[in-house]
């Protein structure tokens, strides 16, 4: 009987056991999402509410960052291209760089910082103040209400934000190109669309879906499993950002390898 035993033995050591237990918990948390997401009741209203929060409320930051990335990248690329007399390739270069890598990566990293930390802190503070327990004792599934809705919202909204960032960054790039090379908007975008392939756009959206899922899942997991106390809230928010960013870079690397397989064909 566990309740009557005095000391507990560890399989390896306390830290290693805790590490494997953490992995098992994370796997169960991840698995539970797929067990719950297709089963009613559905929290449509909460999903829409979270989409609004994640999408609309991120717009100012995403707009500013995307626009600046477009301008700065164009400015930094110009000297290298001009050495070869190839500044006319600027729209193509920028479009490919933004659509393939910079748009998804910049958006995902910003969302990990803003949305991921917000989700981690919010759920952790609900845990600390027993609001999650309150949902549970009122016969409501807190996982479905809090986790499924937020993960779905990030999974839907990050690809939308990525497309928006691509557009804003290209507009920034256009302003810079227009000011320096006197290229019209129609010429600029004609060159952009002739350089970007369907695979570029499709791959960008697919990896954004994974980025969004990662941000939502990590934020929720760290919040849901935060230790008690206000210190736990800060730690959950911080861990949500760090782990999300780490996983986003890994996913970016993997997606690059997979997409390259299709390009060679």
């Amino acid at each position: 009987m566990a309740g009557q035993s005095g000391t507990r033995k560890h399989v390896f050591s306390k830290k290693i056991d805790a590490f494997f237990k953490g992995l098992a918990d994370a796997w169960n948390f991840f698995k539970r999402f797929f067990q719950e997401v297709f089963v009613p009741p559905y929290e449509f209203k909460e999903v829409i509410h979270q989409c609004y929060r994640i999408g609309v409320e991120s717009l100012p930051l995403i707009s500013l960052t995307g626009f600046i990335v477009g301008i700065v990248f164009t400015n930094q690329s110009r000297p290298s291209l001009s050495e070869f007399g190839a500044t006319s390739w600027l729209p193509s270069l920028i479009a490919i760089a933004i659509v393939r890598a910079m748009g998804p990566l910049v958006t995902a990293l910003i969302a990990a910082g803003k949305v991921g930390s917000g989700i981690g802190a919010e759920i952790a503070s609900m845990k600390v103040t027993e609001q999650i327990d309150a949902m549970e004792v009122s016969a409501t599934n807190p996982y479905k209400f809090l986790v499924v809705s937020r993960v779905l919202a990030t999974t839907f909204m990050i690809p939308v934000l990525v497309m928006y960032t691509d557009f804003v960054a290209l507009m920034g790039a256009f302003i810079n190109v227009n000011a320096n090379e006197l290229v019209s908007i129609s010429t600029f975008f004609a060159q952009v669309f002739s350089s970007v392939t369907f695979l570029d756009v499709f791959a960008s959206i697919i990896k954004s879906v994974f980025f969004g899922f990662t941000i939502g899942m990590v934020g929720c997991y760290k919040g849901y499993n935060s230790s008690k106390g206000t210190e736990g809230v800060g730690k959950a928010a911080n861990a949500a950002v760090v782990i999300s960013m780490f996983l986003i870079f890994i996913e970016e690397l993997l997606s690059l390898q997979i997409i390259n397989l299709f390009r060679i064909k």
């Binding site: 009987m1 309740g3 507990r8 609001q131 009122s138 016969a139 409501t140």
Partner: protein
């Protein structure tokens, strides 16, 4: 308690966290329409006991029967059906801070009683806010409420599901003496009006005396004394119970 029906029966209950044994063979009965107060120092496992009662925690061993059903053996659906019959008022009220008072009270109702119309839901909420004396707070956010108001709204939110058993976790903690008396009166009113059986977790003897039919004092993981206030406290022989009484009524 004569022939009164038991609504909760706890037998030989054990619970530990890591190396810390909290409950060490607890036995307890709660009878219909009774207010039972569980007293004890911080960390003695009072809250753990009622969290096992609603399935938030699982005992290591022993039996926890609520309304004739062993809680640890219930599946998810049965446990949720059982939870609708148990109201849990949290120590810090646990109001959802992103929702208004109305939304807080709607939350469990719309998810568990899907056949209710909007009008029926609104009427139920208004009735309960009247019952706790706070109809004017309906559109306020929890951050705009005082500690006592939060407690009352927390109680109203649990009553919205029409529970048979009420569990109050430290209902007067952190409140001024006058608000404490109001909360104690509310606990008694809830029992009278909604015919609930209640367990009140507290270390406030004034609250215990005012609300409890019986007292149970948790000492070292087991109940050290059980009976009416007069039976348990004024002439307690156990030094731990005596010091608890002295501190509350003499030293303070």
């Amino acid at each position: 308690m004569g022939n009164r029906k038991k609504v909760v029966e706890v037998r030989n209950l054990y619970k530990s966290f890591g190396d810390l044994d909290v409950l060490k063979g607890v036995d307890l009965d709660l009878f219909r329409e009774e207010n039972l107060v569980i007293l004890g120092r911080s960390g003695t496992g009072k809250s753990v006991l009622i969290k096992i009662m609603v399935g938030l925690l699982l005992q290591d061993s022993g039996r926890m029967e609520v309304l004739g059903k062993e809680i640890s053996k219930l599946g998810v659906r049965e446990l949720n059906e059982m939870r609708l019959k148990i109201g849990f008022s949290f120590q810090n009220s646990a109001l959802y801070d992103s929702m208004t008072v109305r939304e807080n009270m709607e939350f469990p109702l719309v998810r568990n009683y899907k056949n209710l119309t909007k009008k029926e839901i609104a009427l139920r909420i208004e009735e309960l806010l009247d019952a706790v004396g706070l109809p004017q707070t309906i559109n306020q956010m929890p951050s705009e409420l005082s500690g006592g108001q939060k407690k009352r709204i927390g109680v109203a939110r649990t009553l919205v599901l029409n529970p048979e058993i009420m569990l109050y976790d430290e209902p007067t903690a952190g409140l001024d003496p006058i608000t404490c008396v109001d909360i104690n009166n509310l606990i008694n009113e809830v029992r009278e009006r909604y015919k609930t059986s209640s367990i009140v977790i507290t270390h406030d003897l004034a609250c215990a005396k005012q609300t409890g039919d019986r007292m149970a004092v948790l000492l070292d993981g087991q109940f050290g004394a059980l009976g009416t206030f007069e039976e348990v406290f004024p002439h307690a022989e156990d030094q731990r119970i005596k010091s608890f009484y002295d501190y509350n009524f003499i030293n303070s």
